[in-house]
Symmetry: C2
Subunit: 363 residues, 2 copies
């Protein structure tokens, strides 16, 4: 309940009476209960001066208990209006609620209107920044889980390297990789596993398909696992057979860009400066137009969280932050290369969590 | 663009100037472009009297084109405020926007506030009902895809029946089933595949785990595929070895409940009446307290959509509706059985899309 106490202290400091948290990632972060409620209501209601409760579909109550939540758990069934159930149970706390904090980047308009109506038009403030500020700094327990998640991503790339061969399709390679992970107990990937080959890899957002691998292909893998509620995210680009000069040249530029950014990570450097460091390497090599996305993103309970490592973000890097560095070059129809590591900035320096070699591996 | 024209006619009828659609399932339904933008902005802006456009991350523009969207596609990059990009491009349409329709069950408060601010405090109305009304009635092309999706779910249960044996774990069975589907080109399941055995199956919301199958287990499978953008959803409970009397009795009650509901499906019957029909069978048999969820849900682009088949929904069944019927009995710690079919009500009568036998299969 440490996170709950931190939030109660924040509510007290800001003179906010209550907070209602419904983003499943934040619900997990503050309560330990991970669930995807689909369209049903799942939330944690926190009060400045009363005990918090979890509200969830009736049938998930045993799961919430099993997850270790110590406080009250309020169930609702499909024939009830879940927001009414929320209101009635909030009333039992006997505290006046005139100011409520919500996640404006997650709460839907209809729930917002229902809260407004039920609670008599309280004032609303956003809780997103506070939750992001808390989540962006990982403690040692979180970092240890992220290390384990990254090790599973490394293992996936090892399996991938052992699987690619002429004639196998992208989907078949993906299936083998995910099967190996399942055998190690991985139940969820952090996003759809991506295997892109040849000119398919030249789209930064391409989809794994039926293309058969050929000698001379670069094969781009982008994947990650969810492990104990936390995500990893790795990209490696492997060569099937001897690459040509352009492939080698592009690979080398991406590698140099990634190493330059990695070398620049330290407390106080801004996200924008990191992005710029990698981008300059790629621009100088003449591929600037083909690096079409941000350098990276924070990593934790969500696979994309703060800090966003892009050119307009002045957020300063601090110990406890964990994020990806993933420069890429995509020359349409020709060649695509991306290299992505999970990186932690700690009190002891920079720790690269993903350890599969970054130098071009020729299979 | 038929769906767009329908929506434009609706806007005209309701004197609404524009609609902004951001639920990815609705974006797919109206545009043909399926994408999961995570935290990034993806939407379709439709005007009463001007051409619509898609707005998406810059790197997804080729995918939107490839999906067949004929209109303008506006890209945005991570360093821009995507809502500003939306506003500037809406301005180019040269129409006054004083009333905007949005999906209140999907749009987040921060985007709502941004729209309100950028467009000068227009009035907002909800578009959810109209979209649900359109989506709830499937045309022949959609029905044909749903038939194919259901056939893949049937195939999954066939594979499952051929895989279960003493000593294999729930996760191993799940892996085999998903592998077989991948080999048939299935890239996404419509939700996490559920394999629950023995007393684990006695939780209606249990999670697939490491439990090893034993002789005498009932094994509950709940799964579905996404096929051409549409979902299937099947549950079958198989017996590994000869079931005991209680297992057989519970199974038979669930089967009779499902058949009773199926028999009651016809134009004009309400969702509540269908739910009640199945529930009465289970209550009469003395298991009423153990049927803890609604009877079913609509099925289409989303795995849970309208109509919701529960005891307080007076929506009348109409030709074109496709939905699940899935009664279940869960006696905690002892036995869990659920049987779920995908059902279409058509002009020609009731069509059960899932065809794997419902009678207890003893493996």
């Amino acid at each position: 309940m440490k996170k709950i106490e931190q939030l109660q202290a924040y509510l007290d400091d800001q003179s906010i009476d209550a907070a209602f948290i419904t983003n499943p990632d934040n619900v997990f972060y503050v309560s330990g209960f991970k669930s995807n409620p689909h369209e049903r209501l799942l939330g944690v209601m926190i009060f400045r001066e009363a005990e918090p409760f979890v509200i969830c579909p009736q049938m998930e109550i045993p799961d919430a208990k099993a997850a270790g939540w110590q406080g009250d758990i309020i169930g609702h069934v499909d024939t009830e209006n879940a927001m009414d159930v929320l209101y009635r149970n909030a009333q039992t706390r006997g505290v006046a609620i005139k100011k409520i904090a919500i996640e404006k980047s997650h709460m839907t308009v209809d729930r917002y209107e229902a809260l407004s109506s039920l609670f008599g038009s309280p004032s609303f403030v956003q809780l997103d920044d506070q939750l992001n500020d808390m989540r962006v700094i990982k403690d040692e327990a979180e970092l240890e889980i992220l290390r384990e998640a990254a090790a599973l991503a490394d293992y996936a790339i090892e399996v991938a390297a052992g699987t690619i061969k002429e004639g196998i399709t992208e989907i078949e390679v993906m299936t083998e990789v995910e099967l190996a992970l399942k055998k190690r107990g991985v139940t969820h990937m952090s996003f759809d596993t991506t295997v892109l080959t040849g000119s398919n890899a030249a789209s930064p957002h391409g989809k794994t398909g039926d293309r058969k691998l050929q000698q001379g292909d670069l094969v781009l893998f982008d994947l990650g696992v969810v492990h104990k509620g936390y995500c990893s995210d790795i990209t490696r680009t492997l060569a099937l057979g001897e690459p040509d000069e352009e492939q080698k040249a592009v690979y080398d530029v991406v590698l140099q860009a990634e190493l330059a950014a990695l070398n620049a990570v330290k407390p106080g450097v801004t996200a924008a400066e990191l992005d710029q460091t990698a981008r300059e390497v790629i621009e100088k090599a003449g591929y600037g137009d083909y690096f079409t996305h941000r350098l990276g993103h924070g990593l934790g309970v969500s696979v994309h969280e703060f800090p966003s490592i892009h050119g307009s973000n002045d957020m300063k890097m601090e110990p406890g932050m964990v994020f990806t560095l993933e420069p890429g070059i995509y020359v349409p129809g020709k060649v695509g290369v991306r290299i992505e590591d999970d990186v932690a900035l700690t009190e002891n320096g920079v720790e690269v969590l993903t350890k599969f070699p970054k130098e071009l591996q020729i299979i």
